[in-house]
């Protein structure tokens, strides 16, 4: 993956110390591979000239890095205080019913991963659901089924557009 290597070199140029580029490098690798597989970690380690162990040690600290495979789409429901007060638990339950899985988990067809996450910073516009890194505010239980339908019909790259 020459383009990943080049992307990481471009990130390194922004920092006086190449180690500063580890988070952007891991993010690019996750975008390329879908998750931080051993192969992805190896690519990051090589591009940064750091040990794979160090890359895993850093990656495992952060919630947004996946050290296990995830579905084609990732749906994250904030259930922290502000969202919970206005009904995010009911939204999460509806997702669990719709996808037949308890959070955190991936639907049996491997399409959609459901996670419960901490405060996303949309507290006055809750409940907030993040769908493939894009926020959807004021989310209601009745929005669950149409969203899942749309996600099932689209490939991962389409939902980013």
């Amino acid at each position: 993956m020459a383009d990943l290597y080049d992307q990481i070199q471009a990130e390194i140029a922004k920092y006086p110390d190449r180690r500063g580029a580890i988070l952007p490098a891991l993010r690019h690798a996750q975008e390329h591979y879908g998750w931080l597989s051993p192969e992805a970690i190896e690519a990051v380690a090589e591009a940064l000239d750091l040990s794979p162990a160090r890359c895993v040690a850093v990656a495992s600290f952060y919630d947004m890095f996946f050290l296990q495979p995830v579905g084609e789409h990732v749906v994250e429901v904030c259930t922290n205080l502000s969202c919970a007060l206005v009904g995010s638990d009911q939204v999460l339950r509806r997702f669990e019913d719709e996808l037949g899985v308890r959070a955190p988990g991936t639907s049996e067809d491997g399409r959609i991963t459901l996670r419960r996450v901490e405060c996303l910073g949309g507290c006055g516009w809750g409940p907030v659901v993040s769908v493939d890194e894009e926020y959807q505010e004021h989310f209601k239980p009745e929005d669950v089924a149409p969203l899942c339908e749309r996600l099932r019909a689209s490939r991962p790259t389409e939902s980013h557009a």
Binding site: R19, A57, D63, L81, L85, R93, G121, G122, C123
Partner: protein
């Protein structure tokens, strides 16, 4: 489809965001006087700028309220040095920095450039939380526009100083909002706090002297230079000057971010701007400054929004995140949800926080399920006392302080759960119990010594 964020209209006293909607384009920003404060700043020396900041008496908007001018004066002199902007906004209830970035990104960029000039910084890094995908892209766009305009990456307005600004995205960790953890993360380590000293002003980003400030603090600087430090100090109270963004959420008719002078009260915010509670509901309690702060009670609604007024009321102003809680809410669940968050976000480095947040959460989970006891409520208070003030950073305190306040103010509710052997709340109460009780075995009870 769910609608997007709904921005509250400006208040009468708005000086930071005195307009409706967004001004993301540099041309729009400049048409309203944008980058004029930077021009003014370039005509001043670093010392003069620090003096102006001190005259404004601006206090940091991230949570601690430290005087921003004095902070800038602490930076070790000479050589390679960095400015880091804390855009890791993660304190539950807080979404104000996000609104500043979404609506007026150039105000932040201008503030950064003024700060950079003031300290002759090598570069600025905006550490933005990883979840703020769109906001990071907006900042990248604003920096690119400022670069085209010659404000970034080329000699600044006829001087030989070349400012540089980068966006650095986090990857999901509340603790990275803590300054030393943020710097660990920026330096490419796990985002764990470090002991102080050394302070960031001596050894921070890339082990160089670093000045670290919150988004709102930096975005306020162009306003201060525009109106003058003394005039800014005339707004608010003597010890808490100016206006501040307050994030209002929970059981309130019109949630949103409101810019309030620091001389206003929680009643002005919750009832005035927020329109009070929805029909038929009454106020049970409110969080005054993010979920880590002790809650306040309805009879404290007339407390001022200033740093000193909230301290006098027994809590702290924190990030300015106000969460309104109505009478139907189970305070045991509220406490549990609060504690779960801090347990999840504890970095695990120091024992009191790692173990304390876990114990507090487990005991609250038992309590919520009706499997606790009066003795265990005392044990909870005891653990809170042992955690607070004994951790490497303030995350442990952030769990202990609110939970203690939930118990102290609503002890009867906690006792009722134990007495009934279940949560007495109706099925339609705002929060459900997400975990089936005792999904995991409860911790063995040991006597507190």
């Amino acid at each position: 489809m769910p609608e997007g964020p709904t921005f509250a209209p400006p208040t009468d006293q708005s000086i930071l965001l005195p307009f409706a909607g967004t001004r993301r384009e540099i041309a729009e920003y400049e048409a309203h006087g944008g980058y004029q404060s930077l021009r003014k700043a370039v005509g001043m020396t670093g010392e003069q700028l620090v003096e102006e900041m001190i005259a404004s008496n601006l206090r940091g908007r991230g949570g601690a309220g430290f005087p921003a001018g004095r902070k800038a004066s602490f930076l070790a002199p000479g050589g390679e040095r960095y400015l880091v902007i804390n855009a890791d906004e993660s304190e539950p209830g807080t979404f104000k920095d996000r609104e500043i970035i979404l609506r007026n990104p150039h105000m932040l960029i201008e503030g950064i450039l003024i700060y950079l000039w003031m300290i002759r910084g090598t570069a600025a890094y905006i550490y933005i939380r990883g979840e703020y995908h769109k906001e990071a892209a907006i900042l990248e766009g604003a920096i690119a526009q400022a670069r085209e305009q010659g404000y970034v990456g080329s000699p600044l307005m006829g001087t030989d100083y070349v400012p540089e600004v980068y966006v650095h995205r986090g990857a999901g960790a509340y603790i990275c909002g803590e300054e030393t953890a943020l710097l660990s993360s920026l330096n490419g380590d796990r985002g764990q706090p470090t002991a102080k000293p050394p302070f960031p002003a001596v050894s921070g980003a890339f082990k160089k002297p670093t000045l670290l400030n919150n988004v709102e603090t930096v975005a306020t600087v162009p306003v201060i230079l525009g109106m003058g430090g003394a005039a800014y100090a005339g707004i608010g109270t003597e010890q808490s000057t100016g206006t501040k963004m307050f994030s209002l959420s929970g059981h309130v008719r019109h949630p949103g971010n409101y810019e309030m002078p620091l001389s206003a009260t929680y009643r002005d915010l919750i009832e005035g701007q927020g329109g009070g509670l929805p029909e038929g509901r009454t106020l049970k309690a409110f969080v005054p400054g993010g979920s880590s702060m002790p809650i306040l009670m309805p009879n404290q609604l007339d407390t001022g929004l200033s740093f000193e007024a909230v301290v006098a009321a027994g809590s702290m102003a924190g990030s300015g995140a106000v969460i309104v809680v109505d009478d139907r809410t189970c305070m045991v669940r509220f406490a549990l949800r609060t504690a779960e968050f801090y347990m999840h976000e504890s970095c695990g480095k120091c024992t009191p926080c790692r173990e304390g947040t876990r114990w507090i959460t487990e005991l609250l989970r038992k309590q919520e399920a009706g499997l606790g006891s009066s003795e265990e409520i005392d044990l909870l208070l005891d653990i809170c006392d042992r955690v607070e003030g004994n951790c490497l950073c303030v995350l442990g305190d952030a769990c202990a302080m609110p939970v203690r306040s939930h118990i102290r103010n609503f002890r009867d509710e906690f006792e009722e759960h134990a007495r009934l052997g279940r949560c007495p709340c109706p099925d339609d109460a705002p929060m459900s119990e997400l975990y089936p009780p005792l999904l995991r075995a409860p911790l063995p009870m040991v006597a507190a010594t």
